[in-house]
């Protein structure tokens, strides 16, 4: 019932925002959307495990990801508001931005909750549509290029996922099952036709990597996060990546513990290591702050996927890592708008002296860097440690050594750029502008939240994560 109310409310709000030419009306609709988002999240936690409208289940994985998304949707809308007013954007582009931002958040929420392979796929398609509008916000030549690349790669990836679903459906048809609910897949786990399941997983994995940000389809996502407005980039670099993970995990969980599952693990492991290598190479020669954050995102998603490859303990660490990464990465993207206003550039070479130009902002950025680089007291430090532990417990020293080496190089490259921005003098004189410390408050809260979760994960969160881990055999 609540799901139906949520969907109809979102449809009305999106239509309202798309046609709204008044700032006050858009703000009211934005607040209404946040209320609807809170309502569905609270509803999910009050009634965990229920299924509504046949296709949406409030299971453990869906609840965790929905909670994280709902938390970052508040700062996203606040920073979008700041972004659209400084400098003032045109009313039509504001309307398109607001409507597609709300649609993106809602589509991701429904995508997390979907319990049917085809429904997850449909909502992933909707995220492509709404993300494309956000990427094209500036109407520039480069924005158009990024939009075209993103749409084209996502269209092909979505075709791949569909082909994968068709192959999985063939495997299910052999068992006399004509539906594609994830529970059906689970129920027929032991008897699924191995040829079709392998082919299906391969296509689904390759397709969802466009969202998750892994090899082979990560490229378009990097361009998209670079050209999208920073608050929208925050969603693309965190919650949307989680949707890709969700799509892959639900199929993987249904085949884990079978010979096909072991094979799928190897596929994911190889893809994650290649991605980590690519991220490391690019990070050492990066010159653009937003692309640096985007590559750091694919690095963290490689760590998450590696965690998924190493049993239940690894998966639990990966989930924790994903939750904290969502908070920290979106916080860094929110902070980028301040960097942009200070330097009017995205290039690291144009930046410097940030500590003098924006002292509070610089301290928050430093805290954000420490958090994302997984240096204690960052919460990500603990989850990365747990992923490494899972590797060592399984005796996979080679993967451990490769990952540790690449992460060290990555940390060096990331730190070099960040310290240059914060501490070294700027290459050319920069005029100091006034930025309110309040604008950094949301980032500070998000980074502190990630640190808190790392030190003292709330009982309900660990309970939900272990419930989700129970799906893996």
């Amino acid at each position: 019932m609540i799901t139906a109310i949520y969907i109809s409310a979102v449809v009305c709000i999106v239509i309202g925002l798309a046609f709204s030419r008044s700032r006050a009306l858009s703000t009211v609709l934005g607040v209404l959307f946040l209320a609807a988002q809170t309502m569905i999240t609270v509803h999910g936690f009050v009634h965990p495990g229920i299924t509504e409208l046949t296709y949406f289940s409030y299971d453990a994985l869906g609840l965790v990801l929905m909670l994280v998304l709902s938390i970052i949707s508040f700062p996203t809308l606040i920073h979008s508001h700041i972004y659209l007013t400084k400098p003032q954007a045109s009313t039509s582009s504001c309307a398109a931005y607001n409507a597609s931002c709300v649609l993106l958040i809602a589509a991701m929420t429904m995508g997390y909750l979907a319990n049917h392979a085809a429904v997850t796929w449909i909502f992933t398609e909707i995220t492509t549509l709404s993300a494309a509008v956000l990427i094209y916000h500036h109407r520039s030549k480069l924005a158009l290029e990024a939009t075209w690349k993103y749409v084209f790669v996502c269209a092909i990836s979505i075709c791949f996922v569909f082909v994968g679903i068709l192959f999985i459906s063939l495997a299910l048809l052999h068992d006399g099952c004509r539906d594609l609910f994830y529970t059906d897949l689970m129920a027929h786990k032991a008897t699924l036709n191995s040829f079709w399941t392998r082919l299906g997983f391969l296509f689904i994995f390759a397709g969802y990597t466009a969202k998750l940000g892994l090899f082979p389809m990560f490229t378009a996502g990097v361009d998209a996060k670079d050209k999208a407005p920073a608050p929208a980039g925050a969603l693309l670099a965190s919650a949307l990546m989680n949707l890709g993970f969700c799509g892959i995990f639900r199929v993987y969980a249904a085949i884990s513990g079978t010979p096909v599952g072991d094979w799928a693990r190897i596929v994911m492991l190889v893809s994650a290591l290649i991605t980590l290598f690519i991220a490391t190479v690019y990070m050492t020669r990066i010159s653009n702050v937003k692309r640096m954050l985007a590559y750091s995102g694919i690095e963290h998603m490689s760590v998450v996927t590696l965690g998924l490859c190493f049993g239940k303990a690894g998966f639990m660490a990966a989930m924790l890592h994903m939750v904290m990464h969502t908070f920290v990465k979106s916080g860094l993207f929110f902070h980028f708008t301040q960097l942009w206003r200070t330097y009017s550039s995205k290039m690291i070479d144009d930046m410097g002296d940030y500590l003098k130009l924006n002292p509070f902002g610089a301290l928050v950025l430093l805290f954000g860097f420490i958090s994302i680089a997984a240096i204690p007291p960052s919460g990500l430090f603990f989850s990365e440690l747990l992923v490494f532990k899972a590797m060592i417990v399984e005796g996979n020293w080679l993967v451990f050594a490769l990952t540790a080496f690449m992460l060290t190089v990555l940390l060096w490259a990331f730190a070099k750029s960040m310290f240059r921005i914060i501490f070294l003098p700027a290459s050319k004189p920069v005029e100091k502008i006034k930025i309110s410390a309040w604008e950094s408050l949301t980032q500070l809260i998000l980074f502190a939240l990630a640190a808190y979760i790392g030190f003292n994960p709330p009982a309900f969160l660990t309970e939900l994560i272990s419930q989700a881990a129970a799906l893996i055999s």
């Binding site: 398609e125 092909i156 082909v163 052999h174």
Partner: protein, 209 residues
């Protein structure tokens, strides 16, 4: 009968490999649309009439008329040159397409399946990979759109293969078609052509590290 249609469909893929003009690509898309209409009409027996009519209309109106018309309009509107500008000689393209078809036939040999017709599998997989090959081997962005349409036709054949057992999959395939093509052609027709004019992929190299 169905097998004949799918073999003709495979022949269109070879034609695609050696076609030199954009106009020929459009013609091939029209032929493929008509062939898919015939395959759907002969194959989908367990559909209710209303659903079947929608699917047949989609193949004929959308795949065989609207998309090719739209692409032709873009070519005329932006004065795009007629040559397809491949990176590789046509003979090599022909060999690669032949390789793709042979590989799909060999792969289908390893399937022992009563549900899936091998002809469908070969047709679909060949079309998907020929479409991908077309995308990586041609310079013009519009040829990439044609390549994407060929991939979609392949996916549609695959959805028809399971269509009698799972009708919803065919409808989803139709949705993918309409959604993605409209979106891609929409961006292309409205924006890319106007902004970049004679577009090949070299003009889309502003974003890099």
């Amino acid at each position: 009968m169905l097998e004949t249609f799918i073999i003709i469909f495979l022949v269109t893929l070879f034609y695609l490999a050696i076609a030199n003009r954009m106009r020929n690509y459009i013609k091939i898309l029209v032929y493929q649309g008509i062939l898919l209409f015939l395959v759907a009409a002969f194959h989908l027996k367990e559909f209710n009439v209303f659903n079947l009519i929608i699917i047949l209309l989609e193949t004929i109106v959308f795949k065989a008329i609207a998309v090719p018309y739209c692409i032709e309009r873009i070519i005329r509107h932006n004065n795009i040159t007629r040559e397809t500008e491949p990176f590789l000689p046509n003979f090599v393209s022909l060999l690669i397409t032949a390789g793709i078809v042979v590989a799909s036939i060999l792969l289908s040999g390893s399937i022992d399946d009563l549900i899936l017709d091998k002809f469908f599998f070969v047709g679909a997989v060949s079309a998907i990979f020929t479409g991908l090959y077309l995308i990586v081997s041609r310079r013009k962005i519009l040829t990439h759109v044609v390549g994407y349409c060929v991939i979609e036709n392949g996916v549609f054949i695959l959805s028809l293969a399971v269509g009698n057992e799972m009708p919803a999959m065919v409808n989803l395939g139709v949705m993918l078609d309409i959604f993605a093509s409209v979106f891609i052609l929409g961006i292309f027709a409205n924006k890319i052509g106007d902004v970049f004019h004679d577009v090949d992929i070299d003009s889309l190299s502003g974003l890099k590290d």
